[in-house]
């Protein structure tokens, strides 16, 4: 009655590397872009973006302005996430802890 189920959790429940990378880049930048869009357009009316006196304004409707702003922020923050990911992924692994560097002797300036 209480035998193991054949499909029991096998410990391999991980996304492929590419899936993780896309998620790690796209999702945090989406969150940041949402906040940035809210803050930006709380202070700026998209209809007033561009030259004050000389028509046409930069955006024909406010909704276009909001959408362009949102995707701009998303793109910019995604680029930043991508660079961060690249730096983290290409870093040399941490050196194994030895007696010498565990005590901080290597980095000591004294």
């Amino acid at each position: 009655m209480f035998g193991r189920h054949p499909d029991e959790y096998s410990g391999k429940l991980r996304w492929p590397r590419l899936g993780q990378d896309v998620a790690i880049v796209a999702w945090p930048s989406f969150l940041v872009a949402s906040v940035a869009t809210m803050v930006c357009f709380a202070f700026i009316d998209p209809l007033l973006v561009g030259n004050d006196d000389y028509p046409p304004p930069a955006f024909s409707t406010r909704m276009t302005g909001y959408a362009v702003g949102f995707f701009f922020f998303w793109l910019v923050s995604a680029l930043s996430s991508l660079l961060t990911l690249y730096l983290v992924r290409t870093a040399h692994p941490e050196p194994p802890a030895t007696d010498e560097n565990a005590e901080g002797g290597v980095r000591s300036t004294e």
Partner: protein, 460 residues
């Protein structure tokens, strides 16, 4: 992605296997079902509630006004939103310190929508074992029919979700009419599909992977934990050593603990972890393992609670403390901020004034020896009623104000620009000076606002 491979353990990035959580009933699952119904109910119903001729909750982005029942917020009120987000974050900290990941298990949209998608999956494909059998089976008429029906339900529900979401920003009844006539604007169409698509992918496919790889809260929630935080935990002292046993055998004499190793707790887990290995950051505190284990304990006649909500102190047999510095500080801050927000919203100034100088002329010298400046005074009425305003000026001796008065009517939620001429005797001036322009509602004198303006005069 073209990130070079770094030497990693080969097994670390193995393909994800789909998890088929076993369906389970019990106290906590009923509670979660209720929470899901209430939260989804709120989300799907709110846009349909009318309020005095308009939608009760409407974030009217094209008009740059947020309507929340009787309250209308303007871009100038943006700090309320910031304030609200701070309160939400603090509430999350408070509940995390108190009872762990309550938010994840009961209220997180990711959990709630995933749960809804699981219901639909079960409705069409049957129980866990039936689903797994169907997945292994070769393609047949029945498999196509079942998979197709599930996709139809998922897609329809996702589209409805996207439609509801956009209904918070575009009046939902108009939107429904536009969709029925296939005449939605480009952005409405786009956002319905965008949000619907995100729901479909997140709740249908990504599920617990969102919690494991994408959720920052999952990573930092442990910072709010202490030894008095309620967590879902397996009592190893009671359970170990685990093992199968025959009915009626004196398992204690054989050196076995209470865990019969039925693996039900693992099978019901939506993130596929084994709670018996201790607290893991993948655990979203859904309590499915508690319900599963309680059911098994009832069957074999052992006391419930081998897996339960408990604190680390509780497991160690020490007294539990709900009131402790951490929870008291969070609660006090939370109360102060919430009270402050309530006070500020109810006492906020609902009128405002903005004074713009006329661009065409700096000043005009009149034949009567006075200097005249022209302004555009913008009166902002954020109230829900119309008000009648007077405009006054001060700051220079002999100042005279002239506008199409004596009063100006400004409708609810309107901005009214009023051309205003201000005249000051020339001998009172040397170059220029600051003046003060004030507006005041005649029927409610406490509704007033003022702004500074520069009065410019010839320097000679």
């Amino acid at each position: 992605m073209t990130v070079p491979e770094t030497p990693v353990d080969g097994g670390l990035y193995a393909a994800r296997q789909k998890i088929y959580p076993r369906e389970i009933d019990g106290r906590f699952q009923r509670l979660r079902t209720i929470a899901a119904w209430v939260l989804l109910g709120i989300f799907y119903v709110i846009p349909w509630i009318p309020w005095g001729g308009r939608q009760a909750v409407l974030f009217d982005l094209p008009a740059r006004k947020f309507h929340i029942f009787g309250l209308t917020l303007w871009p100038q009120d943006f700090y309320f939103l910031t304030w609200l987000l701070v309160i939400a974050a603090l509430a999350l900290f408070f509940f995390t310190a108190l009872a762990g990941r309550l938010f994840c298990g009961y209220a997180c949209p990711q959990t709630v929508w995933t749960e809804t998608f699981l219901w639909m999956e079960r409705f069409v494909e049957g129980s866990r074992s039936q689903q797994m059998k169907l997945a292994r089976a070769p393609w047949s008429g029945e498999k196509i029919l079942r998979k197709g029906a599930k996709q139809f339900l998922w897609i329809a529900f996702s589209l409805w979700t996207g439609f509801t979401f956009v209904g918070y920003f575009t009046p939902i009844k108009e939107l429904a009419g536009l969709i029925a006539g296939f005449s939605t604007g480009p952005w409405e169409t786009f956002w319905v599909l965008f949000y619907g698509g995100a729901t479909y992918v997140n709740a249908g496919f990504m599920r617990e992977q969102v919690c494991k790889y994408m959720c920052p809260y999952a990573r930092f929630q442990s910072a709010m934990f202490d030894k008095d935080t309620l967590i879902i935990t397996y009592d190893d002292q009671r359970g170990e050593p685990r093992g199968a046993r025959k009915k009626g055998v004196d398992y204690k004499a054989r050196g076995l603990g209470d865990c019969v190793d039925c693996t039900m707790c693992v099978q019901v887990c939506p993130t596929g972890i084994d709670i018996r290995s201790g607290l893991q950051y993948e655990c979203i505190a859904c309590a499915a393992c508690i319900d599963a284990c309680d059911e098994v304990m009832d069957k074999v006649g052992y006391p419930r609670g081998l897996i339960r909500y408990d604190t680390q102190h509780g497991l160690e047999g020490k007294p539990k403390r709900v009131l402790r510095p951490r929870t008291i500080v969070y609660a006090t801050l939370l109360l102060l901020l919430a009270a402050g927000l309530a006070y500020t919203i109810t006492h906020r100034n609902v009128v405002g004034v903005d004074i713009l100088r006329d661009r065409n002329a700096l000043y005009r010298e009149r034949p009567d020896g006075r200097v005249e400046n022209v302004y555009n005074v913008k009166i902002l009425n954020k109230d829900s009623e119309e008000h009648e305003f007077t405009i006054t000026g001060s700051g220079l001796p002999g100042l005279e104000i002239d506008y199409a008065g004596p009063t100006v009517w400004v409708g609810p939620g309107q901005v009214q620009g009023v051309p205003v001429r201000i005249r000051v005797p020339r001998d009172e001036l040397a170059g220029g000076a600051d003046i003060l322009v004030e507006i005041q509602a005649t029927n409610r004198p406490e509704l007033r606002a003022s702004g500074k303006a520069r009065f410019i005069a010839p320097t000679d």
